[in-house]
């Protein structure tokens, strides 16, 4: 683990794995330190910002260094099931690349339990880990200029759902009608880091 400076009031904690980064995020989030203003998990990092002048970074550091990262606090993860029509434009290609039938791709994708590792890219876009090995495939060579809202895609070690229409380079295997982000809702983002997600096939 490395502690990289990020201006006077933040630090980027670089971890050796996605799991370790998830544990660090959980430790800092569970502590609820009042000085902490942002906790931004990434694929291998956690960015922690504190109120300017609060000196809170020292407390964050001693907290993380004392934590048992093999047994991070569970927090209060929600369990979310997303109903998916597996009719994505890249489903057949994903199956071919994996040496499977499209039905087997659906079985693999619905059979796994995923964890929201981090968000980004757009409000409510969660990077979900737990993708079965054969589905870990590269991004499209040429990103689409427009991916419809609700598209379920995968890229690298992640799967996820586009909360709204945007450009994107993930391989699309289906779509969901579920609203992922609503700024007027009590919980604007359906998916928060740490939440557990399953996909269910409607096809």
């Amino acid at each position: 683990m490395r502690w990289l400076p990020y201006g006077p009031d933040a630090t980027l904690i670089e971890c050796s794995s996605l799991e370790e980064a998830g544990a660090v995020r959980a430790v800092v989030a569970a502590a609820g330190l009042p000085e902490v203003t942002e906790i931004v998990p990434g694929a291998r990092t956690v960015l922690v910002a504190v109120a300017p002048g609060s000196g809170g970074l020292a407390e964050v550091r001693s907290l993380v260094e004392a934590a048992d990262l093999d047994h991070p606090p569970a927090g209060h993860p929600r369990e979310i099931t997303l109903d998916v029509h597996y009719d994505g434009a890249d489903l057949d290609e994903v199956a071919r690349t994996a040496g499977l039938s499209p039905a087997e791709v659906v079985d693999l994708h619905t059979g796994a339990e995923y964890t929201v590792a981090f968000t980004g890219f757009a409000p409510g876009f969660g990077y979900l880990t737990g993708l079965p090995e054969p589905l870990r495939q590269s991004r499209l060579d040429s990103p689409r200029t427009k991916v419809p809202a609700g598209s379920v895609g995968l890229a690298g070690e992640f799967t996820g759902v586009y909360p709204r229409s945007s450009p994107g380079g993930w391989r699309l295997i289906g779509h969901t009608e579920t609203v992922l982000f609503d700024p007027r809702a009590d919980r604007p983002a359906l998916l928060s880091p740490g939440d557990k997600v399953r996909f269910r096939s409607l096809s």
């Binding site: 990020y6 201006g7 931004v40 998990p41 990434g42 890219f121 409000p123 604007p188």
Partner: protein, 281 residues
């Protein structure tokens, strides 16, 4: 709203603390200017006002109110009569307030006693141009609701409008990814020029492209968190300084972070402004 000018957005102090949901902090780019405008009209500093880009704004008062214009130095007219900026002004029902073109800088802030009372989203009334959260850009014909006046306009002495220079020297803290570049401090020094592609997401800079160290040449960085003020260097080598509407994560190395105190000046930097970074660790 009679005429929004080139761009007029409702802004308050934004919605920080939601980066983990992928939501940018947003909020006024020149925070001290919005706070001042609010104090001048008796509002809490956090009330929402209008951030007007390059002047040209024209509004008519549908009710008697106190207003103030701050930020970039700009001619202010009430029913065609020149008045000052950076002072509280009283508008009677039916009077028109118009902004000319700022002499320097980019953004003026219009505060109205009671504050702009559009419906908040995620606890803020700020328009976020990246995520399209918050009230849409203001258009001619819009009627802006105003809240009940909460306080007494601050009896200010004469405030000189700030002048925004054509050259900036910006302190920057190196890290977290300065080790991706040989002699990062010297390369980052510049001089850089602010380009017209700059917006509320970030200032895009032109100048001598930053070279990555040989061993980082083709490397990719897994997505990591971004804060306002981050100086990110994409493969082109031309840095972007992220402003309030920045994405919450990104995959290019952040070479340094600008101090919060300098953000207002960056938010007022016109295309063509020369910029140098002074680095410290």
């Amino acid at each position: 709203m009679l005429d929004p000018g080139p761009s007029a957005l409702v802004q308050d102090l934004g919605r920080p603390g939601l980066a983990h949901l992928g939501v940018p902090p947003s909020g006024a780019l020149d925070v001290p200017a919005l706070r001042l405008a609010n104090r001048l009209v008796g509002n809490p500093e956090s009330a929402a006002g209008v951030e007007a880009l390059l002047g040209g704004l024209r509004v008519r008062a549908a009710a008697s109110c106190t207003v103030a214009v701050t930020g970039a130095p700009v001619p202010v007219l009430v029913d065609g009569r020149p008045m000052g900026s950076h002072v509280p002004l009283h508008l009677r029902t039916g009077q028109t307030l118009a902004l000319g073109n700022p002499a320097t800088g980019l953004r003026c802030y219009l505060a109205v006693s009671g504050g702009i009372a559009v419906e908040p989203e995620l606890r803020s009334r700020s328009r976020d141009v990246l995520s399209e959260i918050g009230p849409p850009p203001l258009a001619a014909g819009d009627v802006l609701p105003v809240g009940p006046p909460a306080g007494v306009p601050e009896g200010a002495d004469v405030l000189a409008p700030p002048v925004f220079p054509g050259e900036l020297s910006i302190p920057v803290h190196l890290g977290p990814r300065d080790d991706w570049f040989d002699d990062a401090a010297a390369q980052l020094a510049g001089p850089w020029t602010v380009t017209p592609e700059s917006n509320r997401v970030g200032l895009r800079l032109d100048g001598p492209a930053l070279r990555r160290s040989v061993d980082r040449g083709g490397a990719e960085l897994p997505s990591e968190g971004i804060l306002t003020g981050a100086v990110q260097v994409p493969p082109s080598g031309l840095p972007v300084v992220f402003l309030a509407d920045h994405p919450s994560t990104g995959g290019y190395p952040v070479l340094g972070v600008v101090r919060a105190k300098s953000l207002a000046a960056l938010g007022q930097a016109r295309p063509g402004t020369k910029l140098r970074f002074r680095s410290s660790t």
